[in-house]
């Protein structure tokens, strides 16, 4: 976090010496899933934008970001799960998609080469339900005929805090396993089976998996990359095994019907397509429809426009998928709602 004094001094300095009006400080908060990209974007934008405006994004979690927005402490929020229709109406909010990213299962399996383990939806669900307890279980062995699987207990690591990443992950599991959809279901925080280990945040899961032999967890792809964790290949809706990467996340996004979606509410999990990664999610920006300060609103859209135009390269380099051009057109159209 930046010291408020520095922010103040910065604003004051610009206030005194500026020629082109007053530079604004605009705060956003929310989802940790896209936070690495948002951090890079705000850094570049703060340095380059002509007005000297300052954008901040605090990664505090989707739900927390949206509630901060509702109470008016931030100007925009980031959320990994689309805000409920009821809430959009009640609090007069609007949302649009900003990035697409992948959630990947990560494993710590001594003796198995990284990225070689293959799983399908039902097997993954059974592991996270606690039904498959050992790595050499026949179900896993059948999916991996070439691998020597250790006789090791599976330690399931999952989120202990409510999280948009969990929402995307359980959204997928609910589609591929009836037992999952009837049991834990699709939510930001679900009832996990007894004996699973809870860890806080994407980094928490990455740490625990890195440290625990025989463990499996799920994180946003960038965190898996950063921690050097072994990912798995998943069988997608077309029955093909796919490796998680930007190309397979993008393949998932290409089939989505954005035009007919309500408030951009689409689900990118378990999509058709030979190379589609099945656990792909959208992360949203949420705004108030009624903006108090017109100038701030204008600057915000200036920034978001810059993100769509210039931010794609940074996003791809960090393994996220920028929004396709036709979706950006729809998004910009939706900005007219904000007054």
């Amino acid at each position: 976090m930046k010291s408020p004094f520095r922010k103040l001094a910065f604003t004051a300095a610009l206030f005194c010496g500026t020629l082109t009006g007053i530079a604004a400080t605009i705060n956003g908060a929310g989802a940790s899933f896209p936070a690495p990209v948002y951090a890079a974007w705000t850094y570049t934008y703060n340095k380059t934008n002509p007005g000297g405006d300052r954008f901040n994004y605090q990664s505090i979690g989707s739900g927390a970001g949206v509630s901060q927005l509702k109470s008016g402490t931030v100007h925009f929020a980031g959320s990994d799960d689309p805000v409920k229709e009821k809430d959009l109406k009640e609090f007069n909010l609007t949302q649009f998609p900003m990035l697409i990213g992948g959630v990947v299962p990560v494993v710590n399996l001594p003796g198995v080469p990284k990225g070689q383990l293959k799983l399908d939806g039902p097997a993954l669900a059974a592991i996270f339900l606690g039904d498959i307890k050992k790595w050499n279980d026949p179900v896993i062995a059948k999916l991996n005929p070439g691998l020597r699987l250790p006789n090791l207990r599976i330690t399931v690591v999952r989120r202990s805090d409510g999280s948009g990443t969990t929402w995307i992950f359980t959204n997928y599991l609910s589609k591929v396993s009836e037992k999952w959809s009837k049991g834990p279901g699709n939510a930001k925080d679900v009832k996990w089976f007894r004996g699973s280990i809870g860890a806080k945040g994407n980094p928490g899961i990455a740490n625990n998996v890195a440290k625990t032999r025989g463990s499996i967890g799920y994180v946003e792809y960038a965190y898996a990359k950063e921690a050097g964790l072994a990912t798995v290949q998943l069988k997608n809706a077309d029955g093909k095994f796919v490796v998680p990467d930007v190309a397979s996340f993008a393949a998932s996004a290409s089939g989505a019907d954005w035009k007919n979606s309500k408030n951009f509410r689409v689900e990118l999990t378990n999509q058709k397509g030979a190379n589609a990664w099945p656990i792909t999610g959208v992360t949203y920006i949420v705004l108030k429809k009624q903006q108090k300060e017109k100038e701030i609103a204008r600057k915000m859209f200036q920034y978001f426009d810059w993100c769509f135009r210039e931010g794609g390269k940074t996003a791809s380099a960090m393994h996220y998928v920028p929004m396709p051009a036709e979706v950006v057109a729809l998004v910009k159209d939706s900005w007219k709602e904000v007054k």
Binding site: S160, A187, K188, D189, R194, K211
Partner: protein, 324 residues
């Protein structure tokens, strides 16, 4: 001997009658305000927590305290798992920390030569100064893998303790036992520091008389120091307890964060403090209110412990010197 009186008399003469009485009054009020702040804050905490937790207590009634549910999808909440986890980890911590810190303090005061006593004393104080998040990181990176690969297999398989449900469970390295052990390490320096002070309160003259009658070091330790300090022990235990009960970060890293009640110490669990840290950011409505209720329960527990510990200690201080 009369100096203070003289000074007080000369006071008004210097600053004039009005000036001093004004500064006196200002000073008085500032002091009162500063002192009242602590009391007001405490009351405000209780009121705030009670206010925000009211919806949870209204919805779930007294059953909140004994319900084991913590279900965000069904919006049903209960405090039993959190209270259970808090009690179990604290109990493990005390079971280990109390005898260890007792022996440490006894060694420092009675047995160790002065140089050694000072070195070990410093080490204890340093241990007390380590921030809890460091204990948590150490716990996660070093202690959890060590528990998984060495301690748990040793207890369950080598010693054959797995016949007892306490030591029969998934050996993940996380869980109640690991959290309890780290809490023991964390409360140890506090408890031994107080015990050391308690033991030092034993008047030298009493000990020397005992030595004079021909008692050995062990006899003096057992019959004089220990008897004298016995009352102080409970005070120390209660202060250590206060630390263990409210500890958040270290526990969050290593307890496994599951809202369950389990007979096995290897199972992952949760404490009140760890649930608060985990769930607060994303909680809304009844979930948030239930978290406030948990906070209220935690505050009541630590408050009771502190008051009891302080009362006990002050009683001992009053009695010190006249006890024997």
């Amino acid at each position: 001997m009369n100096e203070p009186t003289v000074l007080r008399k000369s006071g008004p003469a210097k600053g004039g009658p009005g000036g001093t009485s004004l500064s006196d009054r200002v000073f008085r009020w500032l002091a009162i305000c500063a002192a009242a702040l602590a009391a007001l804050l405490t009351i405000a905490f209780f009121l705030q927590l009670a206010w925000h937790s009211y919806p949870a207590f209204r919805e779930f009634g007294p059953g909140f305290l004994c319900s084991t549910q913590w279900d965000t999808t069904e919006m049903k909440f209960g405090a039993a798992c959190a209270i259970y986890g808090t009690l179990v980890t604290t109990a493990i911590a005390l079971l280990i920390a109390v005898p260890t810190s007792f022996l440490t303090a006894l060694f420092l005061v009675e047995i160790a030569p002065p140089i050694l006593s000072r070195i070990f004393g410093c080490a204890l104080d340093l241990l007390a100064a380590i921030p809890s998040v460091i204990y948590g990181m150490w716990g996660l990176f070093v202690f959890v893998p060590f528990m998984q690969t060495h301690v748990q297999p040793f207890l369950s398989d080598t010693l054959g303790l797995s016949v007892i449900p306490l030591f029969d469970g998934p050996m993940t390295g996380f869980g109640f036992l690991t959290a309890g052990l780290v809490l023991a390490l964390m409360s140890l320096p506090f408890m031994s520091a107080i015990m050391r002070d308690v033991f030092r309160m034993v008047p030298a003259v009493v000990k020397e008389s005992a030595y004079g009658t021909g008692a050995t070091t062990w006899e003096v330790a057992r019959d004089i120091t220990m008897r004298y300090g016995m009352q102080g022990l409970l005070g120390a235990v209660f202060l250590g307890l206060g630390r263990a009960v409210g500890e958040t970060m270290a526990v969050l890293f290593i307890i496994g964060n599951s809202e369950v009640i389990s007979a096995s110490l290897y199972d992952s669990g949760a404490t009140i403090a760890s649930i608060l840290a985990n769930k607060f950011a994303e909680a809304e409505g009844l979930a948030k209110s239930s978290l406030f209720a948990l906070g209220l329960i935690l505050l009541c527990i630590t408050f009771a412990i502190q008051i009891f510990g302080q009362l006990w200690l002050s009683r001992i201080r009053k009695n010190a010197g006249g006890g024997l």
